[in-house]
């Protein structure tokens, strides 16, 4: 038996979520009294691979194959399911991000394994195997029993702390046979964001709503974000109006994020907006209306005009950094 965890890298470096995933997998393995095997697909060197051992991965399967250069969900799930069988995995852990959402359901069918998606805590119970998962866009959480022999869990990003439990990991290089007929995804163009803090990875997010009044008013918000090392986000009407790019839209129909700190400026706090940000550890609201529902979700609030509060806050951050 083992716990299998699928890790992801970005240009050869593991994403933070990979360490979260391995920390989580180690927690599950402890409960089951077994070991953790991590899978890495892509060009990652040995020094980087071995870092997974810091979080408890006992074995690291390293696959660097040209055939897997493009995410093809069919090919990826075929490779991972083979490894799961070989490693006799009873629990498989994957991120609940775009990549994970592409792979997990296909893996589920290949292994006849029930999926608990968007888990944010260790399993509540082993017998029956019960996980705690987000439902109703964060308005409720469910205890979900997974009845199949193999279980697949997709972990919500930023929901599980990194836990260092160093072990001496062994690296196994693998060259899996890949059925060419499965490789059907052809890439025509790639537009990668670079040099920016990814919204879904960010520890701090500064977000603006309709209360920012116009596209021209974003300067101070972006400045505050830069000073805090934060990513920028917005509410839906803001991206609909074209004040900010679409990939900044958070909420039910946008990105779902869980930073340590979410600063909402001029955002009313509609249910659909909260659906995307309610898992943030701390929420700060800046709003001119003391009755805005965002203050019910926030731990810290400033009542005031964003255009007056932001410059003062920026000055205070600069002062603090001195």
């Amino acid at each position: 038996m083992s716990v299998l965890v699928y890790t992801e890298n970005w240009d050869g470096k593991f994403k933070k979520l990979s360490f979260e995933l391995v920390s989580y997998a180690t927690g599950v393995a402890k409960m089951l009294n077994t070991t953790v095997t991590a899978v890495s697909i892509g060009k990652v060197d040995e020094n980087e691979l071995i870092r997974l051992g810091n979080y408890g991965a006992n074995k690291i399967i390293n696959i660097n194959s040209d055939k897997l250069a493009v995410l093809d969900s069919q090919a990826y799930s075929s490779v991972i399911s083979e490894i799961a069988r070989k490693e006799n995995a009873s629990v498989i852990i994957i991120s609940n991000n775009n990549t994970g959402k592409a792979i997990a359901p296909r893996l589920s069918v290949r292994l006849k394994a029930g999926v608990g998606s968007g888990v944010s805590r260790l399993p509540l119970n082993l017998n029956p195997f019960t996980v705690y998962k987000r439902t109703y866009s964060g308005n409720a959480f469910a205890h979900l029993v997974i009845k199949s022999d193999i279980k697949i869990l997709t972990l919500a990003q930023n929901s599980f702390d990194l836990i260092e439990t160093p072990v001496n990991a062994t690296i196994e290089n693998m060259n899996p046979s890949i059925d060419g007929s499965l490789l059907k995804t052809v890439i025509k163009d790639i537009q990668k964001q670079s040099g920016m803090i990814l919204l879904t990875d960010a520890d701090i997010v500064v977000s603006g709503g309709r209360g920012m009044k116009s596209a021209d008013n974003w300067g101070p918000l972006v400045e505050l974000a830069k000073l805090l090392g934060a990513a920028t986000a917005c509410s839906r009407p803001v991206s609909d109006e074209g004040w900010r790019p679409h990939d900044e839209h958070t909420g039910q129909t946008g990105k779902i994020i869980a930073p340590n700190l979410y600063i909402a400026v001029g955002i009313s706090g509609a249910t659909q907006h909260l659906a995307g940000i309610s898992s943030s550890k701390y929420i700060v609201a800046i709003n001119s209306d003391k009755n805005a529902p965002i203050f019910e979700a926030a731990q810290y609030g400033i009542i005031g005009d964003a255009m007056k509060v932001l410059p003062k806050l920026i000055e205070a951050v600069k002062e603090l950094k001195k």
């Binding site: 493009v70 775009n98 069918v109 439902t135 025509k188 990668k192 701090i204 509060v309």
Partner: protein, 249 residues
């Protein structure tokens, strides 16, 4: 080519969720049911493709796994513009069950493009679309924010974590769609509502499938501490709290 759009029936997104039967189920009294927001956008894009005579898309069918009580949601999809509908007559028990039922229907009736939303707003599973594709052994593209056809070939934009890719896969395939796929959901016009009454809804009996998962209990999110208000003129106090109390900066 024919498109099949998978439709889930969910509580309106502003619903205050309450539980029933000792927190084992959701209290459905007074709930307003709607087409899952993603599915509504996916249907909208499917209809736009059909309207575009160069796309090669000739028809749009919607499918729903659910009891007769969810018929109004199917009628709404027909009123928006779907040509016909299929209802698998079963109470959906989990994603595995739903995906298996839909895959079974697709095996019998040919579709070239199957569209699913990235998640349903009730169970937030993000799994049905991918499962359907694996049950059928056909390609799937996830996090799709754009789709068009050029010379019979699908050109698909998918969101990756940290960017976008333009990809192509041969038909038949499953497109799992998200934000960006269509601008605004199409709204049913009076004529559409009238026409929907006479559009065919095919009833299919479910195949035997045992669900793999079951929700045994619901709970409310952990309540947060009440908001501490800080005077607009003392932002340094906020930073102090964030640094020393919350420890997040």
């Amino acid at each position: 080519m024919k498109i099949l759009v998978c439709i889930s029936n969910v509580p309106d997104t502003t619903t205050k969720i309450k539980f029933a039967e000792g927190n084992t189920s959701v209290d459905t009294t007074g709930i307003q049911w709607v087409i899952n927001p993603w599915d509504e956008l996916s249907l909208t894009r499917a209809l736009e493709l059909k309207d575009d005579t160069t796309s090669g898309i000739k028809s749009v069918t919607v499918i729903h796994v659910g009891p007769a009580a969810s018929e109004p949601t199917i009628r709404k999809a027909l009123a928006i513009g779907a040509d016909d509908a299929i209802r698998v007559n079963a109470v959906s028990s989990d994603a595995w069950f739903v995906a298996a039922q839909i895959a079974e229907v697709i095996k019998k009736e040919q579709f070239d493009v199957i569209m699913c939303g990235i998640e349903s707003s009730d169970y937030n599973g993000s799994i049905v679309g991918g499962m359907i594709s694996e049950f059928l052994g056909i390609p799937s593209v996830s996090a799709v924010s754009g789709i068009k056809f050029e010379n019979g070939q699908a050109i698909i934009i998918r969101e990756i974590d940290g960017g976008k890719e333009v990809v192509s896969v041969p038909v038949p395939f499953v497109a799992i769609v998200q934000k960006g796929i269509a601008k605004e959901p199409r709204i049913a016009a009076m004529r559409g509502i009238m026409m929907a009454r006479s559009k065919p809804v095919k009833l299919v009996e479910p195949v035997q499938v045992d669900p793999l998962t079951q929700i045994v209990e619901f709970e409310k999110p952990t309540p947060r501490a009440a908001c501490k208000f800080i005077d607009a003129d003392s932002p340094a106090l906020l930073l102090d709290l964030l640094q020393n109390e919350a420890k997040v900066i």
